[in-house]
Symmetry: C2
Amino acid sequence: MGSVPEPTIYDVATRAGVAASTVSRAFGVPGRVSERTRQKVVAAAEELGYVPNPHARALQSGKHATIALMLADITNPYFFELIRGAEQRARVAGNTLVIVNAEESRRIEFEQIQGLTGAVDGFILAASRLSDDELRALAGKHRLVLLDRELPPIPSVVRDMRGGCRQILEHLSSLGHREVAYCSGPPTSWMSAERWAALSGGAEEHGLTLRRVGPYAPTVANGAVAADGALRAGVTAVVAHNDLLAIGIVRRLRDRGVAVPEDVSVVGFDDIFAAELLEPPLTTLGAPGAQAGRLAVELLLDPPGRHHPAQLRLPSDLVIRRSSGPGSGG
Amino acid sequence: MGSVPEPTIYDVATRAGVAASTVSRAFGVPGRVSERTRQKVVAAAEELGYVPNPHARALQSGKHATIALMLADITNPYFFELIRGAEQRARVAGNTLVIVNAEESRRIEFEQIQGLTGAVDGFILAASRLSDDELRALAGKHRLVLLDRELPPIPSVVRDMRGGCRQILEHLSSLGHREVAYCSGPPTSWMSAERWAALSGGAEEHGLTLRRVGPYAPTVANGAVAADGALRAGVTAVVAHNDLLAIGIVRRLRDRGVAVPEDVSVVGFDDIFAAELLEPPLTTLGAPGAQAGRLAVELLLDPPGRHHPAQLRLPSDLVIRRSSGPGSGG
DNA sequence: GCAACTTTGGCAACCGATTGCCGAGGTTGT
DNA sequence: ACAACCTCGGCAATCGGTTGCCAAAGTTGC
């Protein structure tokens, strides 16, 4: 299996009756060789089934046409759309996308980056768990784009939480809620801090008292603990760090005989595929995942400045479903 | 950003006071250099922050330490577990996993493989949409492992449908169902054909009449059409090609006022994350996704023969939830 | 008709590793 | 004490492209 030697640029050159450098230029430098010669070369390559060796190309030119997308946790469905968007954009640009998983671990994230050094043109770090200093150091050595994390001057794409969280607060407030708990995500999650900041910053204005519980690892399983924590805080509404946690919370509340939304309302973040399927369907802050992925790739390929600002913020909108309803105070 | 030249093997050699070849061997050929020299080299590399250039290595040695995992459709949550398993196994073996998406398209799948030729050690094709002939041709040029597709002598890992489908038939039969519809997946899906074969092959034995409807693209949205098709067939139970389709079917039935499972039972395949969240929770044939991914990687790294048989079959088991219940005939 | 310039292809160095081969120095056997 | 062998480091070729530089051929201007 797999031992027929691949044709090289030299084979093509011989066949077309030109030098190897001419073949290289025929493909890589438009206008550098005459149209007639180019035709010959293309024909020869075609006949031989020539495919350029990416390693040889990368070794000399330093260009790899490869982008790494690092995900904090690949099992979070939110990343699906993000992957799709990034992958499509990368493909039309002729780049391949390498998807790597950090499994919510700083160490693994770091090692993965180490391992891909010299193999990719740059990294898109989605919900990175690295520290600010580590990121800054990395940005000095690699092309970097942050997703759902902001650390100027490193280019980034974030879903803007201000407007979205305001919508959540308005929603809960108008339903008559007064006491709200925020079940926070991992301490290393910039997004969780951002959400808390946006929520707590606007709470007073909307007549809400906000309590922070947690942190919790953002999984369905951990929703049970989070639900218990929120109940103990004696609130009528719970905002969870993300939909996975929110789903776990809804299930735990149900298991404990707490009616959703009659007794307690639950709101999540991300609007993952399963949010709509839950019973009751989950109210959640939607996120333009595919667009974010697409933009991150563009930011990486096209250095910010001329075409794009370095820090992109995407609006997010609340999707109201049945997990939130009138509070006991309203 | 990113322009400090990476130290090379020559820098390390100079610093350690040895030749470049010695450095190379110190890392790559155990026992080839003395322990004392190795220590010196390692120390020098450490101080310089040396990271080997993967392209240079691959160019000469032909080894890339990279595996491509091709998915028919990355948005299918079933692939989550598979990716996790494959990714972990690849990582412990020091390989990076490139995840590529075929978007259910034969052409895209083919082009992606073309584009990665020479950049990876081999391909794992999950639910490939390529034809038998195309796969055979590919197997002649690349290391290949098929996932959820069987085509001897190409190594493969499949979730065995015989036992699982028997469990479905037993389950439905014992609940008193007699007329069952199978909503089939894409015509290019080997898995769909396999499932149909296993179900229809065992139907008579269990006193069931099986009707095939479809094909349908396996998405939640298409569940609506599939549900209507099944209803027209006048059955009391529906087995869907996968959970996405099954979820769509359940929702459509509910929208049409058909009670699940009182009027019609629904069974899916894959036991994706959302199956359990659906109301009613979905009865579905579970699949050891992570294990399948792990084994596929092992099969690719370790040529079959000595350690593994070439064709692996993993057992699958029915997870009975509330979307299936007594049929009107029982 | 000749100088100046442009177009186009080739030569050869180079990217950063790996690896076959060689030989210096040390070890073992008798 | 000498041959045979082993250990271990270095030299240099090699993988398959890219690219700076050069020169032959063709164009243009006056």
